[in-house]
């Protein structure tokens, strides 16, 4: 569970989140959840492992010499240096899942076995706002049920294309 206080997320967390989700940094900031998700990750995963994840990302960026996290050339490096890494790979997936669903899912059993479980590593909805801002709803050109209603009759129109939303 989150404490009342939250700490500002470092820029690396924001840009990594952008690269993972496929949404711009402004899209992510528009959810109001950057700091909350950073803190959620610290709470469950701890600062040491979170730090390793961010360091790896920062190294990829520096090497690539571009600042746009959505640049396609990051893709193979993220796959190799982050997702294929048994320590930080599952963490990156969980951060990505959190952005898409608003839920914290329990870390995979193998990861918990190898690196230790924490009490906060239980499946839960991070917050009501997190539910409302789940990026998957935007990715599928829809909206979360009981929030961000699209207005009378909007459902009769064809859905928007993937990047119109």
């Amino acid at each position: 569970m989150l404490t009342e206080l939250t700490w500002s997320a470092p820029k690396d967390f924001l840009t990594l989140s952008s690269a993972l989700t496929g949404f711009t940094t402004a899209d992510l900031q528009g959810t109001g959840l950057v700091d909350i998700y950073y803190n959620q990750t610290l709470d469950v995963i701890g600062s040491r492992i979170t730090g390793i994840l961010l360091l790896k990302w920062s190294a990829i960026r520096t090497e690539a010499g571009t600042f746009d996290p959505l640049d396609a050339k990051f893709k193979p490096r993220i796959q190799k240096d982050i997702f294929d890494d048994p320590l930080v790979g599952p963490v990156a997936r969980n951060v990505l899942l959190m952005w898409y669903t608003g839920n914290w899912y329990q870390m995979p059993g193998e990861w918990r076995q190898n690196y230790g479980a924490s009490a906060g590593d239980q499946p839960h909805v991070v917050s009501a706002k997190a539910y409302q801002e789940g990026l998957m709803w935007r990715a599928i050109a829809a909206h979360p049920p009981a929030a961000k209603s699209p207005g009378f009759g909007s459902w009769a129109e064809p859905p928007k294309s993937p990047y119109e939303v």
Binding site: D27, G30, K148, S149, P150, G151, F152, G153
Partner: protein, 408 residues
């Protein structure tokens, strides 16, 4: 082009021009209200949110009523996207007696966050002043302006040079927006096909608005007081004592009767009016304080948007610029949709709720995005907004700019 039809009466042309102005005035007020509304942190300031939202919705109703009026008299409404900050178009707001004192706004109307200053601007827009004919040919309040329009309309239909109703109401009735397209706020949309409808429409606008009208100022205020009395009674005649929640409950279920100005004043001073309160003190002639229950206002539960944002402050291609461009496209599409509705396709009104909801969702996103000097476009020194104290700027967010989007 050779035309055999007789010349259109110049008075009718003036009427149409003034109705077009009215459309511009109503439109102009909406983005500032929405901007302030969406800057309020979700789930906070429930009373202020309800008040600003209800006023914004009434202004939208007025826009539709004006479009119906203008269509009825054979005009062609044009949607013109306002640019902020700017003075209210076509109307020079008269400075009230308290001008210069705290709570009174002067100068151009900005897009800004929920704050005492924003509420002061809204009060200035909605301030009731004694009704009188404009002496200098200018209009000094929205009410005075509508009075003039009403008189122009009446004058057309009487006297020596009078026109027949058929000569005035030349519009195509198929262009009228059907009442059922407006819902969810106070008041009703009307189809306008004759002078009776037109009078009702103007009455609806003026009545809901700033409640000007000399004496009506008093009447307006009395209504506010009666309305509070309802709540008061309930608390009094329930011997177990009703907690504040319940009083608020009864209040929020009623159509808000007080004129806009008084609703804003309640927020401004953080108290409700109650029975026995007066608008103006007999002795000093100054505005009285409301003496009802406290109205909690959380001035800091707000996104700290920078005033009057512009897309061009940010470099093309930066995430913030793209977000603002998306917003402006959405707003511009909405204006185009309204334009089509007003000039012959009223059935397209069915699509407007989706547009309004989209504007809202996108505006709230912009409210949360921190302003980022790294994304400023050096071509526009305004970006840095030199007037802003650096300390304030630290938590500043981008905010919605409500600009007409022009593809590059």
């Amino acid at each position: 082009m050779a035309r055999t039809a007789k010349m259109i009466d110049p008075r009718l042309i003036t009427l149409r021009k003034h109705l077009q102005w009215a459309l511009e005035v109503e439109h102009f007020t909406i983005p500032p209200y929405l901007c302030t509304l969406y800057s309020i942190a979700e789930g906070t300031n429930s009373v202020s949110t309800a008040v600003i939202q209800s006023v914004a919705m009434e202004e939208m109703l007025h826009m539709a009523l004006v479009a119906n009026l203008l269509n009825a008299v054979g005009g062609k409404p044009r949607i013109i996207e306002p640019v902020y900050p700017a003075p209210l178009p076509h109307i020079t707001l008269e400075k009230p007696s308290g001008a210069g004192k705290p709570g009174h706004a002067e100068g151009p109307i900005p897009l800004q966050k929920f704050s005492p200053a924003a509420i002061a601007v809204f009060m200035a827009i909605e301030r009731p002043i004694a009704r009188s004919k404009s002496s200098d040919g200018e209009f000094h309040s929205i009410g005075q302006f509508y009075d003039a329009v009403r008189k122009e309309l009446r004058d057309l239909l009487k006297g020596k040079a009078k026109l027949t109703p058929a000569e005035v109401f030349t519009g195509n009735s198929a262009h009228q927006i059907d009442p059922d397209y407006y819902y969810g706020g106070a008041g009703r949309l009307l189809r306008i096909e004759n002078i009776k409808d037109a009078e009702l429409a103007i009455e609806e606008i003026v009545d809901q608005g700033e409640g000007l009208h000399g004496k009506v100022f008093e009447k307006r205020f009395n209504q506010a007081v009666e309305f509070r009395a309802d709540v008061h009674d309930q608390a009094e005649d329930d011997d177990r004592g009703v907690p504040h929640d319940t009083a608020h409950f009864a209040r929020s279920t009623t159509r808000p009767v007080p004129a806009h100005y008084f609703r804003f004043r309640e927020i401004s001073v953080g108290r409700y009016y109650q029975a026995g309160d007066k608008a103006v003190c007999d002795a000093s002639g100054e505005e009285c304080m409301p003496t009802g229950p406290q109205l909690p206002v959380q001035w800091d539960a707000v996104y700290n948007m920078r005033p009057n944002p512009k897309a061009c402050f940010y470099k093309p291609g930066t995430p913030i610029r793209r977000k603002l461009d998306d917003f402006n496209q959405c707003y511009t599409r909405f204006c185009q949709l309204l334009q089509s509705c007003f000039v012959g396709k009223p059935q397209l009104m069915a699509q407007t709720p989706a547009g309004m909801f989209e504007i809202r969702h996108r505006a709230i996103e912009l409210m949360r995005i921190p302003d980022d000097p790294d994304q400023y476009d050096p071509k526009y020194p305004d970006s840095k907004d030199a007037t802003i104290d650096n300390k304030l700027a630290a938590n500043r967010t981008v905010g919605p700019s409500f600009e007409k989007y022009v593809a590059e």
